[in-house]
Symmetry: C2
Subunit: 613 residues, 2 copies
């Protein structure tokens, strides 16, 4: 019993810390933290969890993710009980500049990935577990603390399904079933059988416990540890606000810090708290993943004679560069024969993971992989990446290193129609801090940019085209991010036409037709939309009297607006051709004309601008 | 047996139509259509489905949604077999200008809602079923055809869970378990027990059948019809490509139309097809929902003495305007005490639906409600609307009439930190065809704009602020969409400052400080971001030497870029203050200063621009 006594004392200390820190902050989620205090104290200090707090990056550390990110006071308090955060630091909770933010972010050294948008933690954990089992081949385990309310998020069931499919027995979820959501009881209250039946039907081992019995808690972790072949879900009956009688199981206490007077009463109830005790965390075995030596890259081999779809070049590139970037992992959502990630899959099947039609989980898993040092390349149709915008949004707050590829960009995909057309993806990916947004127009530039993406840190988005387009660059051409290519220029250029992807080729065709009419345009391939080549555009603005941007994308948030933002202080009119009409089925060329982003539309606009004042 | 014989003949005719139309189109998904032909023929012509094809809008029609939208050839062929589409029209499949698009859109009169992005149909059906049961109180039933691959989308499980919660026994799903996805076998192949166990655990009645036995099919619909208290899922074992031996159950035929020679062989196998037969559809009872007479609105009552958060004004507005707009339905995702939709809930509980933490389903349900003539108002944190971007994207292709409210906009929410901050929502909602994007700065304008949103057709987005802000408008002020308010102006204005929401108040404070320094700025409240008041901005550009936009939103795709797009042909420099640094926890004012979108930042920028050439 002695072990449990110490653990219960640690849990009490953690409760104390959760309460005082939120009262000091004047906000936060103490009741959501209190319900899981025993579960977490038992995990971290009861021998199950193996972690070296002085080396949080150790590759064989177990991983703990708070999917219920609002229980951040609990998270920080755990580490304080481990002796790695002082009480003084705890009192900086939620203050400007403190690493102890309202929801855990990677500013805090023990946060595995920033959370706070519910229902995302299990996918992140899945990514880390995939890494342990199939890539690093290390025995570390991943634990994810889940709230009951957030189990209504479909993303959790995606993660559950796919974790079972991959037999991730190194992944353990813990549902803190405390009955109360933000504004009242959850759908199932304390009926644990509902969770048990569902989770079980998704192929997980389930262990139902009293979430405040340290004996049952420790037993559950032990059983989870020894379960083979399937992931494990511990389903714990808990009480929101456990430890403070006037909060316990009461509605109205979600996201509510105790006032000073209330805190006084709460601490009286907690009783004597020994703030000097500290918990020991078991250390992991000092195992390292095998590292492969990077090898030389094969040459690119495209010829101007054979048009190639940039989506195909993406697949080729993945396969070509892997020997140099052996931390790469490729994920796809059931469309690998369309995105051509299958080319990589065929060559390196051990590093390809089918993620099925579940894009949210795919992105969350990519975040988990990225946090464990891998370089995930994530692909599906550009339109379907919108399915995971919240996960993509959250990744930017986790210092993520994820490369996204959205294929089937624009109306030019043709007959499949609007549901399959990516028309807002440039806007979506531009609106992420520090993202890189690339839109290569040919196979050579695609290969080079995919390689650059692997080389650089951060979120990169590459947009690819469905149809084949001419190879227009030599294989030793360089494509610096933030650069552009001036493909046609002269001193007589009246208008600069800025295109990318499919419209770059429309612009080149327009050039020929205009030239035959005695009108010269500068044609710029804006393969790097963010960051954007301001210098080249400013140079063009010195010579020409107007600019036209042309994009197979909606008018808002895309190339046109990106160019205008960059050229805000330059005195030149900028006209944007973009998709402004309801898209529909049709042949690619018909649709480009209909949306007035085709060669003919460019010619018309350029003529109009050339003739104007 | 006679009935079944006719049905089987109709199914054969439908197969014929699916094959010839896709071969004519040169693309499309015949194999995915063939697997469900018997299921759909049995539904539509076997007596279960009640629909008046001459009055597709009849409020008591049953509803059929193809969640597996790529089976559109089947969908159109069904209606051809009903005599409502000619074979000639079928041959226009996927052609530019034809209502028979690659995936069903509302351009085709029998499409309930545009689909094609998988995993969205069940939520749309849920919305229609909610309408039938709780609002229109009509006995019509909603049927959703589902693919097996798309069952991995978490959104389907959100819909399943919430349909069971609301005991929607008027909702029937049919899973076409044909084993093969896009690039190979699904996770479970033909193991129907997996689907059965999971669906059952989510509270649905399950009926497992042979999807090619007309007897079993009809029996399933009959059983579904008589099931009470829970929704029903028919789980049908089918064969992809059923009816054409060389396609049946073969990989590699997804999304692949038969070539002419292959079609010839396929038609030979089908045998004699009587293209003159037509199926009868049972008619619905001619019942109408009760219509309430619109009643007069109460007056707005805010005073300049009491600041009010615009999020609270949103809730007040919903409750105030409902008597006039009695087709309103309010949906929220577990945060009604934060978005203040709870104010409506308290007054009109029958028209409020808690949608729990499942935003994707909430938006899909809203689309379903909108298609049935209701006016859904959908709210959650602005940041969490990104969870449903794919559903929002698809809604624009369905002529949707949905009003979205995103609360907790920007860094000014304070201590909760980045995960809760809406910083990309303006960009997201701008990138939808024909959307209206509104960002009221005070309670009066919020109320007026919510009322306008209810009055107009289409997708409207209203962004609200967490903190209380001063009431700055009189209650009889008008706020036309596409307008703006010039709050401070003079002939000596050197700089125009364009703000909205929280930054409008920062701009007003900056005005005072600058005035005391002898610098005059024009202050414009851009409450209508899309459409945007070009006229007023052009007018300001005549007087001032520069413009500053200031927004609590990322720089990309927001107010700054919207203004620049509208002012593309006006010669004035436009500087944008926006969120450009990693957001974090802190007090609202600290964060506004840190991100340089505060009063002080505006003052600095205005001084700099006033003094420059």
């Amino acid at each position: 019993m002695n072990g449990n006594t110490k653990l219960n004392e640690l849990a009490k200390l953690i409760r104390y810390y959760s309460l005082v820190s939120t009262t000091e902050a004047g906000s936060g989620h103490p009741s959501s933290s209190l319900s899981a205090a025993d579960l977490m104290a038992g995990l971290m200090f009861g021998g199950a969890f193996r972690f070296d707090p002085d080396h949080p990056e150790h590759p064989n550390n177990d991983r703990l993710i708070f999917s219920k990110g609002h229980a951040s006071p609990l998270f920080y308090s755990l580490w304080a009980a481990a002796g790695k955060v002082t009480e003084q630091e705890l009192m900086t909770l939620r203050k400007f500049g403190s690493p102890l933010e309202g929801h855990p972010t990677t500013a805090f050294r023990y946060t595995e990935a920033s959370t706070g948008s519910l229902g995302q933690g299990l996918a992140i954990g899945l990514g880390m577990a995939l890494n342990a089992k199939f890539i690093d081949k290390l025995p570390y385990r991943t634990y994810v603390l889940l709230g009951d309310s957030e189990m209504s998020e479909g993303s959790q069931w995606e993660a559950m399904e796919i974790a079972a499919y991959y037999r991730l027995d190194n992944l353990t979820g813990i549902i803190d079933v405390n009955r109360l959501g933000q504004r009242g009881e959850t759908m199932y209250g304390h009926d644990l059988s509902v969770y048990e039946k569902r989770v079980s039907s998704f192929g997980w081992e389930t262990i139902v416990i009293d979430g405040h019995s340290m004996t049952e808690i420790l037993g559950a972790y032990e059983k989870a540890f020894s379960t083979e072949g399937r992931p494990v879900m511990i389903i714990a009956r808990t009480v929101k606000g456990k430890g403070v009688s006037f909060i316990e199981d009461e509605n109205g206490w979600h996201g509510r810090a105790l006032k000073k007077e209330e805190l006084g009463r709460a601490l009286e109830e907690l009783g004597q708290v020994d703030t000097s005790i500290r918990g020991e965390i078991r250390r992991p075995d000092d195992l390292q993943p095998e590292k492969q030596e990077p090898r030389k890259l094969a040459e690119i081999s495209y010829t101007a004679e054979s048009p190639v779809a940039t989506r195909r070049a993406y697949g080729n590139a993945l396969a070509r560069i892997f020997p140099r970037f052996q931390d790469m992992v490729v994920l796809d959502a059931e469309v690998s024969n369309s995105t051509f990630s299958e080319i990589f899959k065929e060559k390196y099947p051990d590093r390809f993971f089918e993620m099925f039609i579940a894009e949210q989980n795919m992105v969350g898993a990519a975040l988990g992989l990225s946090r464990r040092g891998k370089i995930p390349f994530v692909s599906t149709f550009a339109a379907f990446l919108t399915r995971a915008f919240d996960q993509i949004r959250m990744a930017q707050y986790s210092d993520a290193n994820i490369k996204f590829c959205g294929s089937h960009a624009g109306v030019s995909i043709g007959e499949d129609g609007s549901s399959q057309m990516g028309l807002e993806d440039i806007a979506m990916f531009r609106a992420l801090l520090g993202s890189v947004v690339l839109y290569p127009s040919d196979a050579v530039s695609t290969e080079k940019l995919v390689e650059d993406a692997a080389r650089r840190q951060g979120i990169v988005y590459i947009r690819t085209t469905r149809g084949s387009t001419p190879v227009i660059y030599e294989r030793d051409e360089k494509f610096p991010v933030g650069g552009s290519k001036v493909l046609r220029e002269s001193d007589e250029d009246t208008v600069a036409v800025i295109g990318a992807g499919i419209t770059l080729h429309e612009a080149l065709a327009a050039y020929e037709e205009l030239k035959s009419q005695g009108i010269f345009i500068r044609v710029i391939d804006l393969y790097s939309i963010k960051p954007l080549d301001r210098k080249t555009l400013k140079q063009a603005a010195k010579v020409t009297k107007a600019m036209i941007t042309v994009e197979d994308h909606f008018a808002e948030g895309g190339i046109g607006e990106a160019v205008r933002s960059e050229m805000a202080d330059v005195d030149i009119p900028i006209h944007s051709l973009a998709v402004r009409k309801m898209p529909k089925s049709g042949k690619p060329n018909e649709l480009l004309d209909y949306e007035e982003i085709s060669k003919d539309a460019i010619v018309r606009k350029a003529r109009e601008l050339s003739q104007g004042g």
